[in-house]
Symmetry: C2
Subunit: 399 residues, 2 copies
């Protein structure tokens, strides 16, 4: 009757499969990483069956959230869906910024317009829905800020106990929101990897289910929907390049999984794949460093990690092998920008286009002149910047 | 190709007509209020012609913003549309809050998920688009905060000079955002009505076009789209009651105009009209006072106006005759709640449903037990609360 989530569940999930060793796991039970090799588990769907039960046209009549793609999400029973209306965020043109840089077509996918104010909403909606479905009563995660806020919000909605471990210098807005949602906030004197250690230390004693990204199999399924949305919004084609700010990297991995699935479904042709370009802050650029050194994974934490873009302050992302694989397969690159460039790009976004973006998204804009200069992108390319969140969470960065 | 606004313009605007004396004005020229009687001017559309050129089905394939209803918006040339992806915000269920109050169906229209973080976006998108279309180079408005932010954002996008007059105790986030968007911010030692006086004083000298609500004819056209969206999202029916926080009141007036048009189009039947319930803060409740005293308009400013809900701090709304008319015609009521109740309702929204709403929306929740007790609403009614903005703009209200 209205666009509140209300539908028969039709998830086509089959199992969970390890990304490293290929071992498969029953999706009806609680799972974190592969018990054999500690690899990330990915949900697999019956895409052949999908072809006979759903078409691209069907989506037009569905809710304008990520749950319009419910066959390709892992929730079995509709009543377990924990939704705040997340996803199907607009794609907005940035003609003045394009002109400044000499590009013909610059677009912005705007996850400022999503519950909890950041792109973390999709992943947490999927993860908390599955936690509810599997009877989990208590969760814990390490977060630079936004993921903790999203976990706190969806946990509140699902009546699940939520423990958020955050660096003590995380943005004040994140701390306030976690508390307002009734989460237990643990402030740690360290970086996000130190927070992750605290989660691991306490999870057995306190019975927490660990929600940290890519150690839990369903956040990436929510993130994947960024790729489905972009494909549908582009009329089942894709841009030439997606410029994505990379902290934990789940978004890059999720979008690439979406494109795999959409190709298998026959909804995208193989030659549609965009370059996936990873942007980091020069003060915390482990992916850029590994990319430049032609490594297949990140071997140790980036030293003295520091940047005002708190979402990029991830010195040792868990699934670095997956991130680097996506960049290489897509013929993309990894590139870094300075904090000063980020601050200037935030202002430029606001003054030129009327968009108050987060510093992580500002980093993607700051990278464009460099990418253009080094001929990674061409002036005729259709370029999509990913704005991962509202600037409202970062007012302390605005004078 | 994608859902960026891109279409042939098909506005069916005919003229502007005075709501008091009925005098009509050419919509191709700059207009503010009626030059004869100072009444609010409303845009009129060729609704008969609409029946032959657009159907409800057509909207399914259009962008998920308010511009999907472009025939009923005033912009003539597509290239003049100034859009950030505003509108078609989700309607989210609030089952735990419903249960607390003893209601069967409680829903929230969530304008936390809109550019600039508040419901002011639709009105400013329409107004600034028309300002661009009519060649206006400089605008000014009085604002409690959110409208100024939205005007600043859309003006930046349109390269229009923007002057925002705000009480000096407006939320700090609003001040920062206006500055970031490059607007000229004028902080006034007084209330919003004092700010409005400053706009009137300076407009001739400085050549500002006055954007203050209901003195400018197009903001209400954007607001009107709240009504179109609700109707489509409810499957071309309407809820039994819409509970709406009322400051300047343009939203109430705009939604009612939408329902008039949708009835004339034959897309809604007459018996669909909801009760329109206006909620104010007890510290600034001019509409409630006039309603209780059976007045047709507000005669003087509410004395010693004070409330933490800055959007409700409007002691003397310009078009009070229109607001009261809507409440009476809809068989609605006006009701007030205390600041303490607002703070508690903000927390309840967050803890129960995972929603960080603005204090104005929290006021609508706080009003529900009273409305239920006085039998204005029935437990079987479908009730829609209007969340007019993100709580991110009000973090100072969260401990």
């Amino acid at each position: 009757m209205h666009n509140t989530v209300k539908h028969n569940s039709e998830s086509l999930i089959v199992n969970l499969t390890c990304s490293r060793c290929g071992k498969s796991y029953d999706a009806d039970r609680k799972q974190t990483v592969c018990t054999s090799c500690q690899g990330t588990l990915f949900a697999r769907y019956d895409l052949e069956r999908a072809k006979s039960i759903v078409s691209k046209e069907d989506f037009l009549r569905r809710e304008t959230t990520m749950w319009r793609y419910r066959e390709f999400l892992p929730v079995i029973r509709t009543s377990n869906i924990v939704s705040l209306g997340e996803g199907f965020t607009p794609i907005v043109a940035a003609p003045k910024l394009a002109n400044q840089i000499g590009l013909e077509s610059l677009l912005v996918k705007d996850d400022g317009l999503i519950p909890t104010g950041s792109f973390k909403a999709r992943g947490q909606s999927a993860a908390i829905s599955r936690a509810k479905e599997l009877g989990i009563k208590s969760v814990a995660l390490a977060s630079a800020g936004n993921a903790g806020v999203a976990a706190a919000a969806y946990s509140a909605r699902a009546s699940i106990d939520c423990n958020v471990f955050m660096p003590k210098d995380a943005p004040i807005s994140a701390k306030k929101q976690c508390a307002q949602f009734g989460a237990k906030l643990h402030l740690i004197d360290g970086l996000i990897n130190d927070c992750a250690s605290k989660v691991v230390e306490g999870k057995d004693e306190f019975g927490w289910f660990e929600l940290s990204t890519l150690k839990e199999p369903y956040r990436v399924e929510g993130k994947k929907m960024m790729g489905y949305e972009i494909a549908e919004q582009f009329g089942w084609t894709l841009p030439d390049a997606i410029i994505y700010p990379t902290g934990g990297g789940t978004g890059l991995v999720g979008m690439w999984k979406a494109f795999d699935e959409l190709e298998a479904l026959g909804w995208l042709s193989k030659n549609e794949r965009p370059m996936m370009i990873s942007v980091q802050a020069s003060g915390c650029a482990p992916v850029v460093k590994a990319f430049q050194e032609h490594k297949n994974s990140i071997e140790r934490p980036f030293e003295n990690a520091s940047t005002i873009a708190s979402g990029l302050r991830v010195p040792f992302p868990f699934a670095s092998d997956q991130i680097l694989k996506v960049i290489l397969e897509s013929k993309g690159v990894a590139i870094s920008v300075s904090d000063q460039e980020i601050i200037e790009a935030m202002r430029n976004f606001a003054r030129s286009e009327g968009m108050l973006v987060c510093p992580e998204a500002a980093a993607t804009l700051a990278a464009l002149p460099k990418l253009s200069e080094q001929k990674t992108i061409d002036r005729k390319d259709t370029i999509l910047l990913y704005n991962t969140g509202s600037g409202l969470n970062y007012l302390e960065l605005i004078a």
